[in-house]
């Protein structure tokens, strides 16, 4: 029960308006815990923005109540930044999400061997086949496949991992109460069964434009490396790679014909120093030091 009380304050702070992830973490570092933030009182809040001070006086307990209801359902979990199951690699990044809502198997998250597979939404059948094969083989080798459950390459890689050991993590772009994109309803349920669906947003959060890049940093942050299969040059998957590089993670790319516009981004990455990948062994070779 005690831990739950703590959770409530985490959730209450998560609903604060205009509170960036970085400031959330700074507040916790300063006060020790979200509960202390709320209990510190007006004198301590003087340095904070006006909006935030107002909110701290009148937290949105109604929303927190709804979150708690969602968490009470089987298979639903909450991981706070200080929780022991919180993914270690994700905690190391510059702006780790303070809260992770999890639907599925929490144990999958704490494992180290994770690899992100990302790519374009407008993939070719060949690319999807590759994504599926790589994900399946890597999952048999003990890797957990992370991705954004987007249409195209990413959904193919999730399916591939499910066909393997089933260890896969999908980072959602909205609250976990609904599936986005909607056509991946079945996939999301399968992932929740064997792997985990996670989101940094409380259930009920609607999609916003800025959620997409924000999700990318989690995908790359969870993983030892990011494998790019098919990405035309300006692509969201390239954004994931940018985060991976900022976070000091490995980047892998699969090449293709120079006449194929879908792999322009991959070629660009290889030129910039990403590792060219032909087989799963190329990835293992590079990640050996972590395993």
């Amino acid at each position: 029960m005690n831990q739950n009380v703590g959770e409530e304050y985490w959730l209450a702070l998560a609903h604060a308006p205009c509170l960036s992830v970085r400031r959330f973490v700074r507040l916790i570092n300063y006060f020790g815990s979200p509960r202390n933030v709320f209990e510190a009182g007006c004198w301590e809040w003087q340095g904070l923005a006006c909006d935030l001070r107002c909110y701290l006086q009148h937290p949105n307990w109604y929303a927190v109540e709804k979150d708690m209801q969602w968490l009470a359902q089987p298979g639903h979990h909450l991981l706070t930044l200080l929780h022991q199951d919180y993914p270690r690699l994700l905690r190391e990044i510059y702006d780790p999400p303070p809260l992770l809502f999890v639907q599925g198997n929490c144990a999958v998250l704490s494992e180290l061997k994770k690899l992100a597979i990302v790519g374009t939404r407008h993939s070719s059948p060949e690319g999807e086949e590759m994504a599926q094969a790589f994900a399946k083989n890597l999952s048999y080798l003990g890797f957990t496949i992370t991705g954004g459950m987007r249409v195209g390459i990413e959904s193919a890689s999730h399916w591939g991992a499910l066909a393997g050991t089933g260890k896969t993590i999908a980072v959602a772009v909205r609250g976990l109460d609904e599936v986005y994109p909607t056509q991946h309803y079945v996939l999301a349920h399968k992932i929740a069964e064997k792997g985990a669906l996670i989101s940094e947003f409380p259930p009920g959060t609607q999609i916003k434009r800025q959620h997409f890049p924000s999700r990318c940093r989690i995908i790359s942050g969870l993983s030892l490396g990011t494998l790019v299969i098919e990405a035309p040059k300006p692509s969201t998957s390239i954004l994931t790679v940018r985060f991976a590089l900022e976070q000091g993670r490995e980047v892998f790319a699969i090449p293709g014909s120079i006449h194929n516009p879908l792999v322009k981004g991959c070629h660009h990455l290889i030129k910039e120093g990403a590792k060219l990948v032909e087989t799963v062994d190329d990835i293992l070779e590079e990640l050996q030091i972590y395993l």
Binding site: M130, I254, P255, G256, S257, I258, H259, I270, L276, V277
Partner: protein
């Protein structure tokens, strides 16, 4: 150099068991090939060579193959036939590099000998390419030759041949390094190609005339191909392909290696991928990647795609490559996207328009045929034609055929 001196070079190169390295040791010790023939016993004793080899060599020197040398000299008398010895001022400087210990002492040349000192790029690949790979080689060679690079290759079937064809379609400056003596042509399918290369480019061989096709000559030939060039581009090469020898030699000679990637399911590009992964070869998507890397152009603002090459309006008549001054780079065709707007001055056509007009020279042509011939997209061709029509340079005939006025 007097003729007689050349004859000694030719005679010594035919000595048994004397490869390029031994040849150089001998020349260094005895100062010149003539010195080798005229040396006395005491000089031979200082020479650090295996005793058996010395004996064999001295035996040969007693009775050199002057008959063959005579035939060589007859061949050299013919027009366009040249011989470059290692100490000749025209011997290609890149090939003379200290990095190449086994540089060929002699080069037989059929064609333009000056071309050997020009800036070159090797394009190599498998003998059994896909049609796509062949087309890529041709397009790269054509575009790069227009940019002033000489295309060098081994005249083998497949990618090598396609690269030569492309260069011939471009500026015509191409060098084929043969794996046989220059009095023979191998493979025989490339007889016609070899003649064309000799006309505008050069056929080169380090092997004396009369040398027949031998398996071992082909890997050795690769070191000359890569040694002549600033860089080597591997278009399609499966694992353990012979084409990879050129890349291997290029790495040893500290030259650039470029490789064109492909699908990971395509066995024909496994060797290229290996080069990128393990050997640090540069991945190449478009021809401008190579130019940028070799710093032929200082700044390329908008690199264009290889599918739509742009041809320089004035082709370099000499073999030197002039870096485009930065002030004109912005106007240079290579730095402009396909849909270039006509310039204010109507008499000043850009190279794409000129190319289109040249294609129309042949007679009224449909837009589809133009698209196929020039390689630009249909949209850009139609907009270019419209601009030309508005300027009164082109007219639209009945049946959708465009013609020059």
């Amino acid at each position: 150099m007097s003729k007689a001196e050349e004859e000694y070079w030719l005679a010594l190169v035919r000595a048994p068991n004397v490869g390029p390295i031994t040849f150089q040791i001998l020349v260094k010790h005895f100062k010149s090939p003539r010195g080798v023939f005229e040396a006395d016993q005491s000089e031979w004793q200082d020479l650090k060579l295996k005793v058996k080899l010395k004996e064999k060599l001295q035996n040969y020197l007693q009775n050199p193959d002057w008959f063959a040398v005579e035939k060589d000299m007859q061949w050299l008398d013919k027009p366009n036939h040249h011989l470059l010895t290692l100490d000749h001022p025209d011997y290609p400087p890149l090939l003379r590099s200290e990095k190449i210990a086994d540089r060929p002492p002699l080069l037989f040349i059929h064609g333009d000998a000056a071309l050997l000192s020009s800036k070159q790029l090797a394009i190599v690949g498998t003998r059994y390419p896909s049609s796509e790979g062949e087309q890529t080689a041709r397009e790269f060679a054509e575009y790069l030759s227009h940019q002033g690079l000489t295309i060098t290759s081994g005249m083998a079937l497949g990618i090598d041949g396609a690269a030569h064809c492309g260069a011939l379609a471009g500026s015509g400056k191409t060098i084929a390094v043969a794996g046989t003596g220059l009095d023979r042509i191998y493979p025989p399918q490339h007889r016609e190609l070899a003649h064309k290369i000799a006309e505008t480019g050069a056929l080169v061989s380090e092997l004396p005339l009369g040398t027949s096709v031998q398996r071992r000559h082909f890997p050795i030939r690769s070191r000359v191909v890569s040694g002549l060039c600033l860089g080597t581009l591997v278009v399609e090469a499966p694992e353990r392909s012979g084409a990879l020898y050129a890349a291997k030699h290029a790495l040893k000679q500290e030259r650039e290696v470029f490789a064109i990637p492909g699908s990971i399911n395509n066995p024909l590009v496994k060797g290229c991928h290996q080069l990128i992964k393990k050997k640090g070869a540069k991945l190449v998507e478009k021809a401008t990647d190579i130019l940028e890397d070799l710093q032929i152009y200082r700044s390329l603002t908008t690199p264009n795609k290889i599918e739509t090459p742009h041809f320089s309006p004035k082709q370099n008549t000499n073999n030197e490559i002039h870096p485009v001054p930065s002030s004109t780079t912005t106007d240079s065709p290579a730095s402009q996207p396909v849909r270039t707007k006509p310039k204010n001055n109507p008499s000043d056509l850009d190279s794409n328009d000129v190319q289109l007009l040249n294609l129309l020279e042949a007679g009224p042509t449909s837009i589809d045929a133009l698209v196929e011939k020039c390689g630009f997209t249909a949209a850009s061709v139609s907009s270019m034609l419209l601009m030309l029509e508005l300027r009164g340079l082109v007219t639209l005939n009945p049946g959708g055929l465009y013609a020059r006025i």
